[in-house]
């Protein structure tokens, strides 16, 4: 794992796609690792009782995966400064969450990457991540 340098990141550069298979294990283990014990994230019956078709990813995990998507590409020393996400359709267990992204801007040493995470129902999360490189 190597961290990119400022001159390796160009506006318009496209990030490699990251696809995550949302097994029930992924949904449940991430919900618990983010200390979110709401039933809709681990209890299929509970989720259905509330009108969902299955358990689904919690927001804290969505934020974490967006962050991971950018640092997987930019490298471990990239300093994440902010994540703005618009939340869309639920990411249900059994679905596949695919991230895509591109470098949107570079100003005063801070890069902005546009990120989109899609599932079969549409956009699960879309927004931007701001970071700096050492």
């Amino acid at each position: 794992m190597r961290t990119l340098t400022d001159d390796e990141v160009r506006v318009g550069a496209v990030l490699p796609e990251l696809a995550i298979e949302l097994t029930p294990t992924v949904v449940v283990s991430t919900a618990l690792a983010t200390m979110d014990f709401t039933s809709v994230h681990h209890d299929v019956e509970g989720a259905r009782a509330q009108g969902s078709k299955d358990i689904f990813l919690n927001i804290l995990t969505t934020m974490g995966l967006v962050e991971r998507y950018v640092t997987d590409w930019a490298g471990p020393e990239a300093i994440i400064r902010g994540i703005n996400v618009k939340l869309g359709v639920p990411a249900y267990a059994g679905d596949r969450l695919a991230f895509s992204g591109a470098v949107l801007a570079c100003e005063d040493g801070e890069f902005t990457v546009e990120v989109r995470g899609t599932v079969s129902l549409g956009d699960h999360a879309s927004g931007t991540v701001r970071f700096a490189l050492p």
Partner: protein, 365 residues
């Protein structure tokens, strides 16, 4: 100009409440239960598949820009999540009252729409962030793909020893679930997601604040968000079902009023608990009550509004011939007719597709 009177009044009350809550400013929540620590970081990176060594590998971290292990910035909210028994640490935030007023006026649906986090610096092992929540905005009513609703926005700042280390803006849409909810999925692309954390911990709460969805203010986490809702609107309040009370709710679903009974000394007890207060035995069973009773005491509830219930309604303590007292609504009868000593009989109400509640109706002589 020509809007119906009732919604106009509600909008004015909501706006006035929102202004008061904004004026209330920042309200501190409970500090993280555990300081930033390696085990929670490792569980998080393991579950999310994040292999960045600066979070977990002391040598790699020491050699890097931080000089030591740091927490993933997106974990900021995790440190102040309230845990499973969330009632212990509920401090309340200025957001709760606004959500409660919306709930009480039919805006029972909730979906999170925006989460924006800014990280001023990475957190180090041993630091204990403290969240502080500000109510920052109410916008609406707006027509959305999910129904008419209000956007509710609040901000959380996390402090370590007085230094702001991270901030979050969180926005949810509180909407009136449509009565006929079967809409084709993906049609019109509802802009939102059904999630709880929105309101509870994640949002207002994550900061040790109250309204986690199944707790006080609300529970409709998910009501109608993805267009796949049950035909019947979910009743917004749910009983606390646990190892001690499950038998009671299973009974209610089958039309039985079950009273816990000590399996050793035979003493009846209600509400149910783990240990017999008389002989301290943990062995328990139950009996099925006859379904008759007498009003021992009661109140007529007029205000505040309760999600899912019309006012006024009667809450009574009913004394059973079996020897215990139980709390329940008295229905099928005007509140003015209810009195102490009134004979009642058990009845049931199907609150939604899932929930059946035992209640009490007048027993004619």
């Amino acid at each position: 100009m020509t809007a119906p009177a009732e919604p106009t009044g509600l909008h004015e009350r909501l706006t006035a409440l929102a202004e008061r809550q904004i004026a209330a400013g920042e309200v501190l929540g409970a500090a993280a239960a555990d300081p930033v620590n390696a085990p929670m970081i490792r569980h998080w990176t393991d579950a999310l598949g994040d292999a960045n060594p600066i979070y977990t590998d002391p040598e790699a971290a020491a050699a890097g820009v931080h000089g030591q292990i740091v927490a993933p910035p997106a974990m900021i909210q995790v440190w102040t999540m309230p845990g499973v028994r969330r009632d212990r640490r509920q401090a309340g935030t200025p957001v709760d009252a606004v959500l409660a007023m919306l709930d009480g006026n039919g805006y029972t649906g909730v979906v999170a729409t925006n989460c924006e986090q800014t990280y001023h610096r990475y957190l180090r092992l041993g630091e204990s962030p403290v969240p502080a929540t500000r109510f920052t905005g109410l916008a609406g009513p707006k027509r959305t793909a999910l129904g008419e609703g209000y956007f509710v926005t609040w901000n959380v700042t996390w402090y370590v020893a007085g230094e702001a280390v991270a901030e979050m803006l969180f926005r949810v849409l509180k909407f009136r679930p449509r009565e006929r909810a079967r809409e084709p999925r993906g049609n019109g692309a509802p802009p939102a997601r059904e999630d709880t954390p929105a309101t509870g911990e994640n949002g207002a709460g994550g900061n040790g604040s109250a309204a986690r969805r199944d707790a006080p203010a609300t529970d409709e986490d998910v009501s109608a968000a993805d267009g796949d809702t049950p035909a019947r609107r979910p009743y917004p309040l749910r009983p606390a079902v646990n190892a001690d009370t499950a038998f009671f709710w299973e009974g209610a679903a089958q039309g039985e009023l079950r009273i816990q009974k000590c399996a050793d000394c035979g003493e009846l007890r209600h509400p149910p608990g783990p240990v017999c207060p008389s002989c301290r035995s943990a062995a328990r069973t139950y009996l099925t009550a006859s379904g008759e009773g007498e009003v021992y005491s009661y109140v007529v509830h007029h205000n505040p509004p309760v999600p899912g219930l019309g006012t006024p309604f009667v809450v009574a303590v009913v004394e059973l011939p079996e020897g215990v007292r139980i709390v329940g609504n008295v229905v099928d009868c005007a509140p003015s007719r209810v009195g102490i000593g009134m004979p009642v009989r058990l009845t049931y109400r199907q609150m939604d597709d899932e929930l059946i509640l035992p209640m009490w109706a007048p027993r004619e002589a």
